[in-house]
């Protein structure tokens, strides 16, 4: 069923590889940030912005644009690198991350950063906001989509599930959630800290369409986004199986790299690995 050319897939892969390096560089320079969840989410965000979403970087507030809400706001380096590449703000700003007076805050700030749709950082808020924007889309008879990226740890928050039942009530087929299911939260593995399984059945029981994919496979991400937009009733969630810290061997699967900056040696090693990564 795929209409995605090999060329497109290769090109997106290349972009994601460059983004991974920049994410590490930014966090290294700022000496703080959240590498783990940024690296697990970057493939998804890359496909959304460079292939899937209807956007116009020269007109960030265009009424008909698709909206992306980074509900797991701590992964914002992964959003900043994409927005900079698209020209929402100058590339050099990336290296002012978390600096005083910077337009790039430690967590997304819709009033400071062009292209950021919603201020987030306290977990469990983004899906509700997405429901609001999706309802507005219906009221205004607009055909834009609303995408919300959630963390798996974030799903512990009851408010996510309050948003979920309301999205079902209002049959929001213009709302697409993506769960970055990297199996690790801040304190440790999801299975230990707060088990979520059976995750897919939970969302199904809440009336959502569901699809499970490999969240690092560009083709699967692209296909899943198409699936979510095929005419169907109600909201859809893409459960994307990912690896926290993906691409940097010593970070992969490690809760210790949820938050924290690499030192110089670790930084150089990370860049070397990411350079070699296919």
């Amino acid at each position: 069923m795929s209409t995605h050319s090999l060329q497109l897939i290769n090109q997106l892969q290349k972009r994601a590889k460059e983004f991974r390096k920049k994410i590490i560089e930014m966090i290294y320079i700022a000496q703080s940030g959240h590498p783990g969840g940024s690296l697990s989410a970057i493939d998804i965000i890359t496909v959304l912005y460079f292939h899937h979403m209807r956007i116009d970087p020269s007109n960030p507030l265009w009424e008909d644009r698709d909206r992306f809400i980074l509900s797991k706001g701590h992964s914002v380096p992964a959003l900043y690198v994409v927005l900079a590449e698209l020209g929402y703000f100058p590339e050099k700003e990336l290296y002012s991350l978390r600096n005083i007076n910077s337009i790039l805050q430690g967590h997304p700030d819709m009033r400071k950063t062009p292209g950021v749709e919603m201020s987030t950082g306290s977990l469990g808020h983004g899906l509700s906001v997405g429901v609001g924007i999706a309802i507005s889309g219906k009221l205004k008879k607009k055909d834009f989509y609303v995408y919300v990226l959630l963390g798996d740890g974030e799903l512990d928050e009851g408010s996510v599930w309050e948003a979920a039942i309301s999205a079902n009530k209002y049959s929001l087929d213009n709302l697409i959630a993506i769960c970055d299911f990297n199996k690790v939260q801040l304190d440790g593995p999801v299975d230990e800290i707060m088990p979520l399984n059976p995750l897919r059945q939970k969302w199904e029981a809440f009336g959502w369409n569901t699809i499970e994919i490999d969240g690092h496979n560009i083709l699967e991400i692209a296909n899943a986004l198409d699936f979510a937009k095929e005419k169907r009733k109600g909201p859809t969630i893409i459960i994307a199986h990912t690896i926290k810290g993906k691409g940097v061997s010593y970070m992969e699967g490690k809760f210790q790299w949820h938050g924290g900056a690499p030192n110089q040696k670790q930084y150089e090693l990370a860049l070397k690995e990411l350079e070699g990564e296919k």
Partner: protein, 317 residues
Amino acid sequence: MKKSVAIRDAYGDALVQLGKNNRKVVVLDADVSHATRTNKFAQEFPDRFFNFGVAEQNMMGVAAGLAIEGWIPFVNTFSFLACLRAGDQLRTSIAYPKLNVKIAAHHGGLSNFSDGVTHQSIFDLALVRSIPNMTVIVVADAYETKKAVQAIAEWKGPVFLRLSKAEVPLIFDEDHEFIIGKGNLLKEGTDITIVCTGVMVSRSMEAAERLEKQGINSRVIEIHTLKPIDKDIILNAAKETKAIVTVEEHSIYGGLGGAVAELLSREHPVPLEIVGIQDTFAESARSYDELLDKYALGISDIVEAVNRAVQRKNHFN
């Protein structure tokens, strides 16, 4: 420069000590045990440690249940989450029925300087101070943290203990006497009184030193218990020095400044200046000091406020 120790490290150690001495103490966390340092307690007493994941409201409610059953729950999360996200549970399930829950409110003020606005807690004190039955404590250094943990475990009823992520210069020592509701005189003085709390105590002491050089002799009082506040020490200072400046890592609304203003306006009005964050959100920064300075919490801000208050006092006399 005095040695600095992270308040959260002192808290983590104090909690382990408390766990050894008091078997009724149980510790709850919401997926931030590495940040709050409750991971030490978790290691030592796995049976009395509960991690509820990223779900602060549930954790707060569970603490109420445990308290009803006679346990002494220490609930741990970031301060803004304790009083905002789980604020209704705090009010309805804990403060209203006066349950014996200790809320350890982490990363108070701007101490999480790098994560930015969403992770900073700059109006937490105003919120919890206005809830009936709450005892509100803000610690100033590692020694005080240790003493406070012990004291609140023995105190009956809900307590909000505001902690900090920051490494803070030591003010007290092993012999520090910590009594809930009692302020501490840190420096004698006759021209004015600086009433300060938390992380701002060390900056206030530095300001007082600078002021001496200018010829202003200021008294410095540390208030760790914002509620119930030590009325006597503040009213005496108002009567004797005839002007007061409050200093806190918090909004100028409703915190220590608010508490002192409420007291003075009722009992003994004198010129009062409130040093704090000016009704604004802050931002991310790469250094804590830089952020404090930008948001009106610099030593020079204290010095200027003292000068204003002294001028007003002289104008009155």
